[in-house]
């Protein structure tokens, strides 16, 4: 038995305390936008916000989550995909298969909360989720767009050229 606050709603769930938060979100609460990708906190497909902090939910025991902790999943990020990050994702046409994108978006939102004008280096450091389709270049562009970074900064590393 655990009491959780997910997307602003109180939820009572019947689970063993060592159940990963990811599987509680997916199987008990029924929110499937948060994805299973590795189970060992490597890929980030399961990323949610726990009290505003980006968290890989596959590696959090539900027994360690307090009833007062605020959990936000992709479904609770905004109404009608209206968050600036979601809008930027649409404008840049980021997703391919889409499976990892919930986690990517949650990671980008958390980054922008901490660093509203991230540099490429900030994005490199924060956006560590795995995407097998290879949408990385567009993720970088969309993060800059969501941040309102000027267009020249969006043209990534061209430092290799002399002129």
């Amino acid at each position: 038995m655990a009491k959780l606050n997910i997307n602003g709603k109180a939820r009572d769930v019947q689970v063993e305390p060592d159940t990963p938060l990811l599987w509680v979100i997916r199987e008990q609460v029924g929110l499937t936008g948060t994805k299973y990708g590795c189970g060992v906190a490597q890929c980030g497909a399961c990323s949610v916000h726990l009290n505003g902090e980006i968290t890989r939910s596959c590696s959090v025991r539900v027994g360690d989550v307090k009833p007062t902790d605020k959990i936000i999943t992709i479904e609770g990020l905004s109404a009608n995909a209206s968050h600036p990050v979601q809008k930027a994702w649409a404008a840049v046409d980021v997703p391919q298969c889409g499976y990892c994108q919930s986690g990517q978006i949650m990671a980008a939102v958390a980054l922008l909360k901490k660093k509203p004008k991230p540099t490429d280096a900030d994005i490199d450091e924060a956006m560590t989720n795995i995407c097998r389709c290879g949408t990385y270049q567009r993720i970088r562009e969309a993060v800059h767009l969501a941040a309102g970074n000027p267009a020249p900064a969006r043209a990534a590393d061209r430092a290799t050229r002399r002129s």
Binding site: V40, T128, G134
Partner: protein, 731 residues
């Protein structure tokens, strides 16, 4: 009775329909289609069906049917663009509807081949889907002409609105569609399609149609299926490939939370079924299982390497291309170059791991599954369940990654059927853990290749001998693809024949040999298939030859390409946009490569540096591709970027470590994947010549790794010949 070979090599009786066989990437097959205008499809509610591909609702919504699978590659959007182009509808009013294989079967395959592999999704359906769009337009115009009693030739159409200029009348598609549906369809063969130069929707860099629900968590993948009363299953297949289950101790886990049953799946696997997947997985991990590993338990990376090495010295011939006398030319050459390369097994690692949900009743079988070949999935469901195909149904889901892993075989679906047999009338969802997914893939095959060349006094390449020893995909999954002992597919990219995967060089004395050396490790098509290894072997060795000749890498290649103008044009495009020959910052070095696969021509440049600590950084890559007609340049660029990420991930890290017969690196902590920080800036240069239809999803991957390796050679002054790079010291 005729037999058909399926993706996993299992044979299936030809029942009352023909399934596009293996659908393995690179297989290049398309069976006879009874195409469009069969007119037997069930009409979408509220929509007027003009033919099997197009239905129009009264509110002007144009429903375009899609048969091929969508796994991120953008085929859905591209196919819709091609139909909409000929239909002359309003792109903003287009929606798509996925066809299920049962519906295709019931309609005598009105939608043709549904398989999605080999970068064929658009190029092998473009003709009939465009004709369907045009036929619908002709019917809509005819209906308006009939209603207004004017000659159809006096009408024009734009954005789904038909106009009669003389009378200033207009009508939208939605308003005339019901009447148009009753117009006799035109002869599809007689329709003159638009010249692609006149395209307004196709050929444009449009956004995808299928993005919205990927942004808010609402898109349902097969792994997300929820059904009333559904149980969940976790599975462990024998860690040693081919090993058998001897016993398991069900009593040890019977009382664990949620556990319903332990099911032996075929001879090799054990599944635990529980109320939730987490319960099933937890119990499975606690279940004692003993296996009979037999001889396979002795196989390791080292024994496999010896096996391949022996192949390099062997004399049997499983594929050959020959002109002149390469061995004599090399023996008598002024200068000789020799190198041996190695590429390991690599997993697909789709983000959505393998899974399937199956419900079996006494007279019905249903599956909810993501697959690159829906018809083969239907056949697998029927075969495995014993339920007649007409009573089988496969619910289609977009794939959370395919890359060839879901192209055939349907091992995960077959397992799910076996498990579901224990629970009649109950849906059972089988999900593989990441560890299971990594340990039981059909991997990109292992290969070793010895290359020898002779240069004359002027540094010209006068003789080239390629001897490749490696595992055959066809031997594993499609023995019919090996004809007279020759496995042409293993030489993909080195072929003489134009059109698909032709070697772009003319060498006066050439000998290419393939020696088959199979292992017990399963192999299959992996994005780009054999063009990956063959592209690395050929392009890295050509680079070594260019360096030995003292010539510029680009000029050395150009001198061999005069008979291959399309290859050359793409190489030139990459060189030009990649600033070939222009100065770089100190420490940054450039490499180049070209290769061909899937009917399209590709070339790339890469700019890299190596830090004092030996860390490789790929700064920038320029990839050029000629895919003939470019249906959506924006999505082509996305596929090029994706190919770079997939190819470089394998180049840097990809390697299944085989020890005691099993894969030992089974999650992303031990099997690393390329991440955003390592992604180079990719510039895509699309140079279509508008005279053929080539593939897009796979062709460019084969130049990504060799371009980087050649830049790396320039940076460190020596070639790296064993992959992945993580095992090599770069300083």
């Amino acid at each position: 009775m005729k037999k058909m070979v399926f993706g996993n090599g299992q044979r299936l009786s030809r029942r009352n329909f023909v399934v596009g066989s293996a659908a393995l990437a690179g297989g290049g097959l398309a069976l006879g289609l009874n195409v469009p205008f069969a007119g037997e499809a069930a009409a979408q509610s509220g929509a007027n069906e003009l033919n099997v591909w197009v239905a129009i609702k009264p509110d002007d919504t144009c429903v375009i049917r899609i048969a091929r699978s969508e796994m991120g590659q953008g085929t859905l959007t591209g196919l819709a663009q091609l139909v909409a182009e000929e239909l002359e509808c309003d792109w903003k009013k287009v929606t798509t509807e996925g066809i299920t294989p049962s519906r295709n079967l019931a309609s005598k395959r009105a939608w043709g081949d549904m398989s999605t592999g080999g970068s064929r999704g658009i190029r092998t359906s473009q003709d009939y889907v465009r004709r369907a769009g045009a036929a619908a337009r002709i019917m809509l115009l005819q209906a308006a002409a009939d209603q207004w009693k004017v000659p159809v030739g006096d009408l024009t159409v734009s954005n789904g609105v038909i106009s009669h200029a003389a009378s200033k009348r207009t009508i939208s598609y939605g308003k005339i569609a019901a009447a148009a549906a009753k117009v006799a369809p035109p002869d599809q063969k007689a329709i003159k399609l638009k010249d692609p130069k006149d395209w307004k929707i196709a050929g444009k860099p449009l956004h995808r149609l299928d993005t919205a629900d990927k942004l808010n968590g609402s898109k349902l993948y097969a792994i997300d299926v929820k059904l009333p009363g559904m149980l969940n299953a976790a599975i462990k297949d024998a860690p040693v490939f081919g090993a058998k289950v001897v016993s398991f101790d069900e009593a040890k886990i019977a009382k664990m939370p949620g556990v319903k049953k332990v099911v032996k799946v075929k001879d090799t696997a054990v599944a635990v079924v529980a109320d939730t997947w987490w319960h099933a997985k937890t119990a499975l991990e606690a279940l004692p299982i003993t296996w009979d590993e037999a001889e396979n338990g002795k196989v390791s990376d080292a024994t496999i390497a010896e096996h391949l090495k022996a192949g390099l010295a062997a004399t049997e011939n499983n594929g050959e291309r020959k002109n002149g006398d390469a061995l004599a030319a090399i023996a008598g050459a002024a200068k000789k170059v020799e190198a041996t390369y190695y590429t390991p097994f690599v997993s697909h690692a789709c983000m959505e791991m393998m899974n399937a949900t199956v419900k079996l009743s006494s007279d019905k079988a249903e599956a909810w599954v993501a697959t690159q070949n829906l018809e083969a999935a239907l056949a697998a469901l029927g075969e495995e369940s014993g339920v007649p195909l007409a009573k089988c149904d496969v619910h289609r889901y977009d794939l959370g990654g395919g890359f060839g892993r879901r192209a055939g075989g349907h091992d995960y679906l077959r397992q799910a059927v076996t498990i579901a047999k224990e629970f009649p009338d109950t849906p059972v969802k089988l999900i593989w853990s990441r560890e299971e997914d990594q340990a039981h893939d059909f991997y990109r095959p292992v290969a070793m290749c010895k290359m020898s060349a002779g240069l004359d006094e002027k540094g010209n390449l006068i003789g080239l001998h390629v001897k490749s020893s490696g595992q055959s995909i066809n031997a594993w999954s499609n023995p019919a693809g090996i004809v007279g002992g020759k496995d042409r597919r293993q030489m993909q990219g080195w072929w003489e024949e134009p059109g698909d995967a032709q070697l772009g060089y003319t060498v006066p004395n050439l000998l290419i040999e393939y020696v088959m050396r199979n292992t017990h490790v399963p192999v299959g098509p992996w994005r780009g298939v054999n063009t990956n290894q063959n592209g690395i072997f050929m392009e890295c060795f050509i680079e070594e030859c260019a360096r030995a000749s003292g010539k510029d890498s680009l000029e050395f290649r150009r001198a061999l390409m005069s008979n291959h103008p399309k290859h050359l044009a793409v190489l030139n495009a990459a060189a030009e946009k990649g600033d070939w020959g222009k100065p770089l910052l100190p420490g940054v070095h450039r490499g180049i490569a070209q290769f061909m696969g899937y009917g399209s021509y590709s070339a790339a440049t890469a700019e890299v540096s190596v830090s004092k600590q030996g860390k490789l950084k790929v700064h920038r890559m320029v990839l050029a591709t000629n895919c003939g007609h470019a249906v959506n340049p924006h999505q082509i660029a996305a596929q090029v970027e994706g190919g770079v990420a997939y190819g470089l991930s394998a180049l840097f890290y990809g390697e299944m470590k085989i020890d005691k017969g099993r894969v030992t690196n089974t999650n992303f902590d031990t099997y690393e994947i390329l991440r955003l920080a390592e992604m180079p800036k990719v510039e895509t240069v699309v140079v279509p010549t508008h005279d053929f239809w080539g593939g897009v999803g796979e062709p460019t991957i084969c130049v990504a790794a060799p371009a980087v390796l050649n830049a790396l050679m320039a940076a460190i002054g020596r070639p790296i010949r064993n992959l992945p790079l993580k095992n090599e010291k770069l300083v």
